[in-house]
């Protein structure tokens, strides 16, 4: 399915703590096409952020990648095997959740945005000019004034816009987003999501957007991967996945979310809590909490199998789920 238009392909990625230690991300394969937004959704500890960080080699020192290959599309070169160091600032940028701790507090906004191109040898004047254009592009009002401001003088929404401008300054083809709107207010989150989507369309950017909130993902992502306990358990076009989930965990996740419209309903709860890494149950990782679990589910871990165009699920019982069997 991954045509030549894939920007990045990650295959069989595994991440573990220490040498021969606990596996935190297990055999994750993903790809993103040009101009496409892939959403990764999961609860805390599901491995979604680690997966994203490993693309640029930003794993915490105690963790390391034990398996996996990465291929990246460069202009006129096709997909090439690459390591994280070859991607940093060369085609791939990243934005983070907390913009204040990601911006150098001792540098002015304009210098922060210009730094990427200055490091590539652009003249001071040209880099400053480009920074102003980028600040305007991401919707910072009065860019000339703001370029002289310090990070602490900006609001959370403006800081996030500045971080996006910094990310864009090196002309990436892939932008990695690690919960960039989680710390923001509802109306500001809406502004940033609109901006990111506009950049994807106008610049043809490919995006990987990680969030714990499926409603944010459903707003921004074309395709979604659901992660649970270190594995991708379901993948598919976002709207199809939300309307017709094919994994009991995805379904439970959707039903446990409060709805804004229509009469209030009681939320669905999932019994138990996610397994701790290192103490995974035998068989399917969701089986102990799954209302549909059968004997087979406790014996083997179901592989992620294709169940239609662009859709895959890791569930032995997905036909039962599909038949409308109510858990």
């Amino acid at each position: 399915m991954t045509g030549t238009e894939a920007v990045i392909e990650i295959a069989n990625l595994s991440i573990a703590a220490g040498q021969g230690g606990v596996t935190l991300v297990d055999d994750v394969s993903l790809h993103v096409d040009a101009g496409e937004c892939l959403g990764i959704v999961g609860e805390s500890g599901s491995g979604k952020s680690l997966t994203l960080r490993s693309v640029l080699g930003l794993l915490p020192p105690a963790l390391h990648q034990t398996r996996g290959t990465m291929r990246f599309q460069r202009e006129n070169e096709g997909l090439h095997s690459v390591g994280p160091r070859e991607l940093r600032g060369r085609g791939v940028s990243m934005i983070f959740q907390e913009p204040m701790s990601s911006l150098n507090p001792t540098m002015r906004i304009g210098d922060l945005v210009a730094a990427g191109q200055r490091a590539r040898g652009m003249s001071r004047r040209a880099a400053a000019g480009q920074a102003l254009r980028l600040l305007a592009e991401v919707g910072v009002p009065h860019p000339e004034q703001r370029a002289r401001a310090w990070p602490h003088q900006l609001s959370g929404g403006l800081r996030q816009r500045v971080m996006i401008a910094m990310a864009l300054s090196v002309e990436p083809t892939l932008l990695l987003c690690d919960e960039p709107t989680t710390a923001l207010d509802t109306t500001v989150q809406d502004q940033i999501l609109t901006l990111v989507e506009r950049l994807r369309i106008e610049r043809g950017l490919a995006l990987i957007f990680v969030s714990h909130d499926l409603s944010v993902i459903s707003r921004i992502a074309n395709r979604t991967a659901v992660m649970y306990a270190g594995r991708v358990i379901e993948q598919g076009p976002t709207h199809a996945l939300v309307d017709n989930p094919r994994h009991p965990y995805t379904r439970a996740l959707i039903e446990s979310m409060p709805q804004l419209h229509g009469p209030p309903t009681r939320l669905r709860t999932i019994s138990g809590s996610p397994p701790t890494a290192g103490r995974l149950p035998a068989g399917c990782r969701f089986a102990p909490r799954c209302p549909l679990a059968a004997d087979a589910c406790h014996e083997a871990d179901p592989p992620l199998l294709s169940i239609g165009p662009h859709r895959s699920t890791a569930c032995f019982r997905q036909t039962a789920l599909n038949a409308g069997e109510q858990p």
Binding site: G157, Q191, Q259, L260, H261, L267, T269
Partner: protein
């Protein structure tokens, strides 16, 4: 009306030192808020950061002294220096259970101390009181012998709720009590609060930035903006026919699982809330309001009352239908 808790024109102003001037500036955290909560009702308070919703929670439980206004409990004026009995009746659940539970103490000792302090249960009945408390919040009794860090986030927040319930309160003030939890744990705690209200007749003030949870849990909603109540009314009315432009923008901006591409690709609202330090003469929302007119910057808009639904917007009366019910 049989209001259990009433806030009457509450004002909380803080003096803040300002490097640029000698006279301290005034931060208007809460600026003239009146609210009433009936017995066994759940009032949702929603708003963005800095709107004063947490300060309001502090006023309710007596942690913050209002600079003006009155708090009434069961018709009686209660000041910030409250009797032990009153403090017992109004309890609070905080956002972060890690910060609000002593990490060195087991759950049993935390809860027993409270019950003991208020002399609610004789020593011989303590064990069974603790067990029934655990049952009330759907936790196994073995949690009593755990320390907070041995529990999951959802379990910890249920312990925090048990801590509040231990002293048999009438009112629970929950300040962003589920915001730090994962979706599935969040659902458990929201359902628990709904059950407690139904079973114990608990009165709940639920403060949150999350409209979906407010919708699920609350029967009345107050929308706050810049220290004031922009709109207040029955939850059904607020969500179906919001009258304040801010409420409408908030509903439009909230991501929704079911809303699809038809939505316009422009943000629901531009700008960010102005700082509480800025002096606003008119409607506090006017600088961001898409419907603002000259009159909006002249004076703060009075409430337009429509049944039990009130809106602080000069345009709210333009669209009134018949009073429902």
């Amino acid at each position: 009306m049989n209001a259990l808790i009433e806030l009457d024109d509450i004002e909380v102003h803080f003096k803040v030192k300002n490097r640029r001037s000698v006279t301290p500036a005034t931060l208007r955290a809460v600026d003239g808020v009146s609210l009433a909560v009936e017995r066994s009702q759940c009032l949702g308070v929603v708003g963005e950061s800095g709107c004063g919703k947490s300060t309001l929670a502090g006023v309710l439980v007596g942690l913050t002294t209002p600079t003006a206004g009155q708090v009434r409990y069961d018709g009686q004026d209660i000041g910030p220096r409250r009797s032990k009995e009153l403090r017992r009746r109004i309890q609070m659940v905080f956002q972060d259970p890690v910060a609000s539970l002593n990490p060195r103490r087991r759950v049993r000792s935390v809860l027993a101390e409270l019950i003991d302090c208020h002399g609610l249960v004789p020593d011989t009945g303590m064990a069974s009181a603790l067990n029934s408390l655990m049952e009330m919040v759907n936790l196994p009794t073995r949690v009593l012998d755990a320390r907070p860090r041995e529990l999951s986030g959802g379990q910890r927040q249920r312990v925090a709720i048990a801590r509040a319930l231990a002293v048999q309160p009438d009112v629970l003030v929950a300040d962003e009590a589920v915001s730090a939890l994962d979706v599935s744990a969040q659902a458990t705690v929201v359902n628990l609060l709904a059950d407690l209200r139904a079973d114990l007749g608990l009165t709940i003030v639920f403060i949150s930035h999350d409209l979906g949870i407010i919708r699920t849990l609350c029967d009345r909603v107050a929308v706050m903006y810049a220290g004031r109540v922009a709109e207040e009314g029955p939850a059904d009315a607020i969500f179906a026919t919001p009258r304040h432009p801010y409420t409408r923008a908030l509903l439009k901006a909230a991501p929704d699982l079911r809303r699809r591409a038809a939505e316009p690709r422009v943000p629901a609202l531009e700008g960010e809330p102005s700082g509480a330090l800025d002096l606003i003469t008119g409607c506090p929302f006017q600088p961001r309001c898409p419907e603002a007119e000259a009159i909006c910057s002249a004076a703060p808009p009075p409430y337009v009352q429509h049944g039990s639904h009130r809106t602080a917007c000069v345009h709210a009366s333009d669209q009134l239908g018949p009073v429902p019910g």
